[in-house]
Symmetry: none
């Protein structure tokens, strides 16, 4: 019986892949809300733009942290 | 039987990746709610801003705990 | 038989990561509901604040239990 498992690579790739799931959805939710809010109340576009970019950045940051995490724990 | 698995890295990366899924979505939901609430009732922006940042911080904290967890359990 | 796996770390990290998915989303949903309810009926803010914090705590508790679980089962 020969079992030749030749998996290679670092599990850090899996880690980043998982870390990108949530922010991928979260960023979409934020911009979807901004689009709908702006379409209904165009005069609110300037008021809520700050929070659209803020929410996007804070959600996206979680995926970017997942990018550097393997270097922290050992690649 | 030869099993030559050349996987490298720490499973802590997978742990963080999983821990970032929920907060990534949760943060997006919180800011989406704040954007829509502010667009409809601009006068409520000051009243609800506290809770937007509170909800964001409490959700994001779960991902940040996932960042330090591998150090607690052993990298 | 040669097993050359260079993976390190504890699967407790994966456990916590999974445990944080639900609460990360749940906490975001609770605060999103409170933000929108407060924006529409500002006079209800005091009445519903108790339940916002209650819902947040009960959801977050699941992730914090996931943090101590590896110590219970063996790290």
């Amino acid at each position: 019986m020969d079992v030749l498992a030749e998996l290679t690579g670092s599990v850090g790739s899996i880690g980043y892949g998982l870390a990108a799931i949530g922010p991928g959805i979260g960023v979409g939710i934020v911009w979807a809300a901004y689009i709908q809010a702006t379409a209904r109340q165009p005069e609110s576009a300037g008021l809520t733009r700050t929070y659209a970019f803020l929410g996007f950045a804070l959600s996206e940051a979680l995926a970017l942290i997942g990018f550097v995490v393997p270097f922290v724990y050992g690649t």
